[in-house]
């Protein structure tokens, strides 16, 4: 006979968990965006006083990690960072055992970033505390999609009728998957653009309202939002693509950006690599919202944490 070793074995993720955008209801998304709008890190109510938030990071991160941490602290929570290097993960401790351990030391919520798709789901299935996905492999990055939606709404008033071009390494991009799930839900039309290695035809099956093109001009024409993606060398796993070819065909330059609507905004989940997917002129240009996105990450993640742990939901 096999026995379950842990009494935490559960099937449904705890209330307040955020594993992905795909299975969120429209009203939950709108609720989070509304809540994010009300959040101000400089004038925050201590909604999470005495709550312990563990940031469990199996992968490198600057933006997501720091903004989750600042978001949690702004709301009065205690935070701890656990990374794969310098922890028992290095000694071979499994994800579930790490989760049970963090639960045992008193974690009230776990924010997890992991290179394997579905890792947050595994944790959420076995823990009775909210699990927040801060990026899992190539699957989803829900907090980034929410902050992107927040950023778009700041500049475009409403989603209705918007055209978004997403250009670059779509295949490896969890941000793109989350953004497609979120934006197409509210009537945004998205064009995915890049070479087949980065934008396989199957990408168009992800949600309704998506199409794939190899031609940059086609993607840019009439676009209200131009989202650029980094070429994820760490996830390439044997795929060969020549950087120079990519740059020649798809790099966003000031001249190419003129093909989009005059009031189009440029977005990028970061980290950006100047000279690869975009030029410095575009990154620093007047249409660039790249820094604004990072800024909006804090109130968005405050909203996510408040929903997970706070009394005011």
């Amino acid at each position: 006979m096999m026995h379950r070793l842990h009494s935490y074995a559960m099937n449904k993720p705890a209330r307040g968990s955020l594993l992905g955008i795909e299975h969120l209801e429209d009203k939950e998304i709108l609720g989070l965006l509304k809540l994010a709008h009300r959040m101000n890190p400089l004038k925050a109510r201590p909604l999470l006083r005495n709550k312990r938030v563990v940031l469990l990071f199996y992968e490198a991160s600057t933006r997501t990690r720091s903004s989750f941490e600042i978001a949690a602290k702004s709301l009065g929570a205690i935070t701890t960072l656990v990374q794969s290097s310098g922890s028992s993960i290095e000694k071979g401790e499994s994800l579930l055992d790490t989760g049970y351990t963090l639960r045992a030391v008193g974690a009230d919520a776990i924010v997890i970033r992991h290179p394997s798709a579905g890792a947050p789901h595994l944790l959420a299935k076995h823990l009775d505390i909210p699990v927040i996905n801060a990026g899992d492999g190539m699957h989803e990055h829900p907090s980034q999609a929410l902050l992107d939606a927040f950023t778009i709404l700041k500049h475009k008033k409403s989603f209705k009728g918007l055209r978004v071009a997403i250009i670059g390494d779509v295949y490896h991009s969890r941000v793109t998957r989350s953004n497609c799930h979120l934006l197409t839900r509210f009537g945004v039309k998205i064009t995915l653009c890049g070479p087949p290695e980065f934008v396989p035809d199957v990408a168009a099956t992800l949600t309704p309202g998506l199409r794939v093109t190899r031609h940059l001009e086609e993607a840019l024409r009439g676009a209200d939002v131009v989202m650029l993606l980094r070429l994820q060398k760490e996830r390439l796993a044997g795929q060969k693509i020549r950087l120079q070819d990519y740059i020649a065909r798809y790099q966003m330059t000031a001249a190419r950006l003129k093909l989009a609507r005059r009031d189009a905004i440029v977005m990028h989940p970061g980290p950006i690599i100047r000279g690869h997917e975009l030029t410095a002129e575009v990154a620093d240009g007047p249409q660039s919202m790249i820094i604004d996105e990072v800024h909006n990450g804090v109130p968005t993640r405050m909203a996510i944490l408040a929903r997970a742990l706070g009394k005011a939901k």
């Binding site: 096999m2 795909e22 499994s94 994800l95 798709a117 890792a119 492999g137 699957h139 990408a203 796993a237």
Partner: protein, 442 residues
């Protein structure tokens, strides 16, 4: 084992309906077993003379003992997943009287000594175990093993299962040597150069879940190449393990057509698993690792092609690819989880529930896929049919019995099944090996 062992004296199976496709019997028949062999098969109440024991098979189907061409019994070396004793107990509960054990153990079964070890009575097998030996040393794909020696020790086929024989020259040499010895070469058809880091079928579901996908071509290309090789070698025998894609089936059909042409004398056969005729890639849900196996669950069109091939005779056998794994190897990130699921205890129930009831494949064909079909693939003499004088291996099942499968109650040491809690129609009632009842349903 929960069932009581009877002595191998004589046993009369009375009142059942016999389906023996090899003997072309599909009629009420009594079957008398004596001294481990089939003594007599006759219409009801025609058998004279007594028997030590009687088995009341009224309302039940009596069939030749089921043969599974593809199981992983995990010994030597991985007895925390399964042992020969527990694996064969699971086989008995699933109606299998013979199982063919794959050599990807620790160490790999690539010597006559290990083949003999697997067959030793001390292993505690309750059904017949036929070892499949490694085709290359340590299954590294570089140098062939000594097929003749392995065959003499009892190996019924050679395979590097778990891995393909990728190198074309090595595969050609294996088929050549196999042809000389009349030994099937079993190929795990996967171009591993195309499937690195992949954990499921390539398609909309893998894209949505952010998992790298194995393309159908990674399987079909190898089957295609192997069929070409086989057709160049007189009397070669190629068996495609756990075939899962529509394109691979096309290659197998091409190989089988060759049999009828004068110049080609190769034999190309294939097996299909119950999970591939039942489930789809999208059933993996939210990263359920009990739906992760290799080859992976495929698309709806692949499954459709498999169902057609099961019905029309292209597929030779249903094989489970029973692959037990411990909980700690499955309760991990999807990409890190071990490939494989258990299958021995659900195979017949899936075949009846899915193939017979849902897709209207006749019971006679289903029984053939479990008996005469696999017996022919590996030339298991005097098995796969209840002809007089054959081994007294019998499977008795109730094709109408409804039941719920509970993983926690299975005989296998491991519980990594996607079918926990499934409601089935069709249940094994008794399994008889060499005239002994080795399993009896409660």
């Amino acid at each position: 084992m929960t069932s009581a062992k009877s002595k191998p004296g004589s046993l009369l199976i009375k009142g059942g309906h016999l389906i023996d496709p090899a003997a072309k019997i599909n009629a009420p028949m009594d079957v008398l077993l004596r001294d481990g062999r089939v003594a007599e098969v006759a219409p009801p109440n025609k058998l004279r003379g007594g028997a030590d024991e009687k088995f009341d098979a009224r309302g039940l189907i009596v069939a030749p003992g089921f043969i599974d061409l593809h199981v992983h019994l995990r010994e030597p070396g991985q007895s925390y997943k399964e042992t020969i004793a527990t694996g064969t107990a699971a086989a008995a509960a699933g109606g299998f009287t013979s199982v063919c054990a794959m050599p990807n153990t620790a160490p790999v079964v690539d010597t006559a000594e290990w083949v003999a070890w697997l067959r030793h009575p001390e292993r505690g097998a309750v059904v017949n175990v036929f070892p499949i030996a490694a085709a290359t040393r340590s299954s590294r794909g570089a140098a062939l093993t000594d097929f003749a020696v392995l065959q003499r020790a009892g190996a019924v086929a050679v395979s590097d299962d778990g891995k393909p024989i990728l190198d074309e020259e090595i595969m050609r040499a294996a088929l050549r040597l196999g042809a000389e010895l009349n030994l099937p070469v079993v190929q795990h058809a996967e171009d591993t150069r195309l499937t690195e880091h992949c954990s499921m079928h390539e398609g909309p579901t893998s894209f949505r879940l952010g998992l790298r996908g194995m393309s159908a071509a990674a399987e079909a290309n190898i089957v295609d190449r192997d069929v070409n090789l086989a057709q160049q070698i007189r009397e070669s025998r190629l068996h495609v393990a756990h075939l899962s894609t529509s394109d691979a089936l096309k290659a197998v059909r091409r190989g089988k057509r060759g049999i009828h042409s004068a110049r080609v004398t190769c034999r190309v056969t294939c097996e299909v698993t119950p999970h591939h005729f039942t489930l789809l890639d999208e059933d993996v849900g939210e990263y359920n690792t009990n739906f992760k196996m290799n080859p992976p669950l495929r698309s709806a069109s692949d499954r459709e092609a498999i169902l057609v091939a099961l019905a029309d005779g292209t597929v030779d056998a249903i094989a489970t690819d029973h692959a037990p794994h411990a909980t700690h190897e499955k309760q991990v990130e999807f990409e890190r989880a071990a490939f494989g699921i258990t299958g021995l205890e659900t195979a017949l129930a899936l075949a009846i529930t899915k193939l017979h009831r849902e897709h209207k494949i006749p019971l006679t064909r289903i029984v053939e896929l479990f008996t005469a079909g696999p017996a022919r693939v590996f030339d298991l003499r005097s098995r796969g049919s209840l002809a007089r004088g054959n081994f007294a291996d019998v499977t008795i099942f109730d094709p109408k019995k409804r039941w719920t499968f509970e993983a926690a109650k299975c005989r296998s040491l491991s519980h990594n099944t996607p079918f926990d809690g499934w409601q089935f129609t069709g249940k094994v009632i008794a399994t008889i090996v060499g005239g002994r009842v080795v399993y009896r349903a409660d």
